[in-house]
Subunit: 705 residues, 2 copies
């Protein structure tokens, strides 16, 4: 059953999502932007964000072109055996560029949407109320979410239709990965340099409130919310989406032929249609709970996806393969359940008022040091249960395919081989709801920015109350999306790892005497790889954390300088105006310049290990990198989230409230947590995925086992 029309369906679903996103965007742009002041601020944020994106992508062009040439050129150096393919050559080089370009396009569309919706959300809150404000801000997020999923599915499907082999288009995922790493790191440095700079001088030293127009870093701070949370997260999940789909197609191809290739594409199509339907369920009444509205949207999406995949599996896997249809469905379901559990666990460790968070707040009573110590402890503790959930999902996904196959009469060794597909399917299951999750995540910065605009444009306080309600929900959805991004990165990395093992088995089949490539932890080369791979996330974590420290330091100096040198600025005298553009420029320049070094480590480490130490060491490297990367991602994200909410809990009036000594201590913890949760932690996801996509290209090119 090789029916290529099915791939057109997938491409169609991707195109549909994209059209729906663009249609939604144009409907948002028709909303009222409010007062001239609001419009002015919103435009400053939009311009800052676009300026950053332009500079970021422009900086990456030479880098992308070098890889493009290398991929193309490698096609002349390496020659595929007759009847087989290599992941290099003109088609792969082109796929790489398309992956990188579509990631950038998704970034531009999403960024336009969120930065053009902030004032409109504030205005909706002012003139219409909460319901309309949720509607505008969520639709803005949905534009981003559906662009990410739509472009991802469209790109993979069309390239597959053109080139007909998942191995050739694997560099589509590599292109997406490379961009994602820089977008995550650059965006993360930008957002935190601006945030820390604005807070340290503005709130702590000068004692002016958040989002006060006197603060010269305030626009940069609002831009940062967009380039970090929206563009960074979007690129991250675009990458997961592309990499998982292609890895699943590769594994599926070698195990099941065409059905194994087309199934992941159609799972993606079902997820996208479900997400579009889900967006219509996100509605709230004037005094309703926006969180509940978002949850309804997510559940509708998940349930529709599950139902669709159940029937899809039955109709794709037929004949000899019919045995595994149920198993594959269960694996996809496992991925969907991991979503829910990881979201729940994230909330348990970082939600305002949860035991872990109040413990940090209580520790603030004896000063900043004990606050930080308890925050580190919560972050560390929060890794354990999610890791157990991932481990259980791996086991269950494998087991369910294996079990279904055996029950259907497939011989044991073949069933065990087939079961590898289960892990890729769990990853697909998780990512099938990416459209909805990104929508929920991107809605946060819009609400946050809307609150900032309400403050700066001096709208009545009740407007701020409404946007604050949305902003609080945005913090929760951001935390859930972070857990989602980490979980999907973990499963994506495992899918890539399986595909890499397939590729190496194929490449060295003679040397292996026809046996499978075994990554044996007792072999010294594998151990060497594990040790080096395990250390890389710490190295990249260090580079990114230091980058924020240094960039923030530059911002602090600039804000101090403006307060010192611009007469009347701090006192708020009319006519004294902060030089926002300079702060935006500083954040942009330092983010761009400091994203290079970690990027070089991320891209070159797997290449060096693979070519110098060989295929076994690279396999160990991937194992160590994935395990440690996921752990650090959880640790950093959750510690940061918990510190943030401990501070918020005190600000709600507990332990003496704002300006009390515990609050000052909690502000220190929150500031420490900023680069953890928004720069170094998120950098781990693309780090482990970029290593996977590169290894998958390297696999067939390596010189020795």
């Amino acid at each position: 059953m090789e029916n290529i029309t099915l791939a057109y369906y997938a491409a169609g679903a991707g195109a549909l999502a994209l059209l729906f996103a663009l249609f939604t965007l144009s409907s948002i742009l028709k909303e009222d932007m409010g007062t001239p002041k609001m419009r002015e601020i919103s435009e400053a944020v939009h311009e800052g964000a676009m300026a950053y994106l332009n500079r970021q992508y422009k900086t990456l062009i030479p880098f992308a072109l070098i890889i493009f040439v290398l991929l193309w050129g490698a096609g002349y150096v390496y020659k595929a055996a007759p009847g087989s393919h290599l992941p290099v050559g003109p088609a792969s080089a082109l796929s790489f560029l398309v992956g990188a370009a579509l990631s950038a396009v998704a970034g531009y569309i999403g960024m336009t949407s969120t930065t053009k919706s902030n004032a409109r959300t504030a205005e909706a809150a002012r003139s219409h109320g909460l319901s309309k404000a949720l509607n505008v801000s969520f639709r803005a997020g949905a534009v981003m979410g559906l662009s990410v999923a739509g472009l991802g599915l469209l790109g993979v499907s069309v390239l597959y239709i053109i080139f007909g082999n998942p191995l050739i288009i694997n560099s589509f995922a590599f292109g997406a990965s490379a961009i994602a790493f820089f977008a995550r790191v650059g965006g993360g440095i930008y957002t935190k340099a601006a945030d820390v700079g604005a807070d340290l001088v503005g709130k702590v030293e000068a004692g002016i409130p958040e989002d006060d127009p006197r603060n010269p870093a305030v626009i940069a701070d609002n831009v940062g919310d967009n380039v970090g949370d929206t563009a960074g997260m979007g690129a991250d999940l675009f990458e997961s989406y592309a990499a998982t789909t292609i890895a699943a197609m590769l594994i599926g191809n070698s195990l099941f032929g065409f059905p194994g290739i087309i199934f992941p594409l159609l799972v993606g199509a079902i997820g996208i249609i479900a997400a579009i339907i889900g967006t219509f369920f996100v509605r709230t009444s004037e005094d309703g709970n926006p969180q509940a509205a978002l949850n309804v949207g997510l559940w509708v999406t998940n349930v529709l996806t599950a139902a669709g995949v159940f029937f899809l599996a039955k109709s794709i896997f037929v004949g000899d393969q019919a045995a595994i249809a149920n198993g594959v469905f269960m694996a996809v379901l496992a991925g969907l359940i991991v979503n829910v559990l990881v979201g729940y666990l994230t909330e348990m460790y970082t939600g305002t008022g949860k035991a872990a968070v109040t413990r940090i707040a209580q520790a603030s009573k004896s000063g900043p040091a004990t606050n930080v110590i308890h925050g580190l402890a919560v972050g560390m503790e929060s890794t354990f249960l999610p890791m157990v959930v991932f481990a259980a999902a791996i086991f269950f996904a494998f087991w369910s395919v294996n079990h279904a196959a055996m029950a259907g009469g497939v011989p044991a060794d073949k069933a065990a081989e087939w079961a590898i597909y289960g892990i890729a399917m769990a990853a697909m299951g998780m990512l099938s709801s990416a459209g909805m999750v990104v929508a929920m995540d991107s809605f946060g910065p819009v609400a946050d920015n809307a609150g900032g605009i309400a403050e700066m444009a001096e709208l009545p306080p009740e407007v701020r109350v409404k946007t604050d309600k949305l902003d609080a929900v945005g913090n929760t959805t951001a935390a859930i999306a972070k857990g989602f991004a980490i979980g999907s990165a973990a499963l994506t990395a495992l899918a890539l790892f399986s595909a890499y093992v397939e590729a190496v088995t194929h490449k060295f089949s003679q040397q292996l005497g026809g046996a499978k490539f075994v990554v044996d932890l007792t072999e010294p080369m594998v151990l060497v790889g594990v040790f080096i791979g395990g250390a890389v996330p710490f190295l990249v974590g260090s580079q990114t954390m230091r980058a924020v420290g240094e960039a923030a330091y530059g911002m602090v100096e600039e804000v101090r300088r403006q307060f010192r040198e611009i007469p009347g600025l701090l006192e708020g005298k009319p006519g004294a105006k902060a030089d926002y553009a300079r702060c935006v420029d500083i954040a942009t320049r330092s983010a761009i310049s400091k994203m290079i070094a970690p990027g070089i480590v991320a891209v070159s480490a797997p290449i060096l290990v693979g070519f110098i130490l060989g295929a076994k060491a690279l396999a160990g490297f991937l194992g160590g990198l994935t395990t440690v990367g996921v752990l650090l991602a959880l640790f950093l994200a959750n510690a940061g989230g918990a510190w943030d909410n401990a501070k918020k809990w005190i600000e709600q009036g507990n332990l003496g409230g704002k300006k009390s000594d515990p609050h000052k201590a909690a502000v220190v913890g929150d500031t420490v947590g900023d680069p953890c949760k928004d720069t170094s932690g998120p950098a781990m996801n693309p780090l482990i995925k970029v290593a996977g996509t590169i290894s998958l290209i390297l696999g067939p090119l390596l010189l020795r086992l």
Copy 2:
């Protein structure tokens, strides 16, 4: 060549070291203790330390008895096949108790030595000068160092002579491990609760100097230096020593028979004799550099050991095995070189005045948050190069044995098998200098306490100058010893891992069809184990860090209470006396009660994984646990060390010196670093080793692959 007399030589060397230690101790006790005030303080510290040790070991007795009974009883449940042995039964149960008891004995001897030498060191500095002060304090450390190595070698040798099989006496290492974990964690909680409590209220809130007798926590703080650095580190290295020796004997036995067993014992004997000789080279002139004197001692020990092992290898490995003599020597040498490199790297990231440390100090200018961010960054960065060194050592140790064997005409597959012995030999090489390293480490708390006594007993300031000179050296040797403890734990864990794989191969030989047990990272059960194993160090890190936070909080409350309720205490009125005993008691009680939970996790996790998920999952668990445990150990220890020295660098008068704003920020970082470097970080070493020793016992008992 099965000449059991050789084992008597090893036992003799162990006994000699022990006698030398006791002789040295009695010679120290003849030194003058100084003024009655000095004697009084010293005795308070000694009593506090002994009270803690008594309570710690008493608490562990029921725990040890339960394991004793389980090990004995398991001998009835499991029956060894004819001609083979099991690591359970009466002999194993007895070995377990001996291991635990000897660890305790080493703790008591070492603790008596260091706590009885502090006033004597201060008095030596007062009446004789620096040279004599170094002599007393270093001899005190040497007592600990030689007790650890001597008892370790004596215990293993004698048990081997009695029971004749390394598998049976493997629980000697388990006994040492279990005690080490509690000693490390309990000691770590004690020392930091007292330290943080003393600093937060005394130095920060009340503004009185370090070691001021008005501070109620000052005695507890001095006790803490001993129970943490001396007893904890001693137990840690006693464990590494025992576990590595036994793992090497196990692997050696299965590969080479008797020569493979006796060689590690005799390497230990050579190391001990070399260390005894080395101690005589630690001498300094009055205006000399104590660090240089210690370095000479260490180099003499290392060179003598290397020379001795070279000839030993040639005479033990003869006939068929002669080919590997050179390779084995090179592997031991690799271990010795790792010592030097790791010490150098530790200094590079944590030494006062090094770039990494001044960077943290500079970041203190913008407040505590940026100080903490940069400290985290340094800690993360500092993991990378040591991991590369470990990886290189693994590779080189393996390669050198493999290469030597092949060059000597051994067939390739057999040479590869033999090469596993290389990793165990690298671990032995590293640990052969344990006597000297523990001596250098234990000297630190003596010098530190001597300074405290000089302060409290109001000796002339020039005495304090001399003890401060020694104390500064002590900080460096402590840092080197920490690197040593981590490195030896890593290599020990790998040796245990290899031995575990041997044990499982043997146990499931039928099921494996005679093939070797392969720990394949692509199998889901192995991955499940890796994920869970990787998360355990984070969990234990969290538990221990929180324990310090809570214990310190109790101490802070008590010190505040005493300042509030004891009239005239803070003002230093004559007759107003702090209640030191109460602070000692609080530290003791909280350390004992809070060491239980992490202990249960450490011991039960491998048992649960092994019995529920099977041998493959347990192998993955060990791999994940070791990699992540070593990374976290490096991260936490080096971050803490760097924060500490950044503060000290500011105190030397940089950036405004003491009491400046950067100094206040640096104090926050230092306090955060305290539990990192002295509790949670050090807990990682016994954590990974205890999992290894338990797995080695479990291996032959597991129910399924």
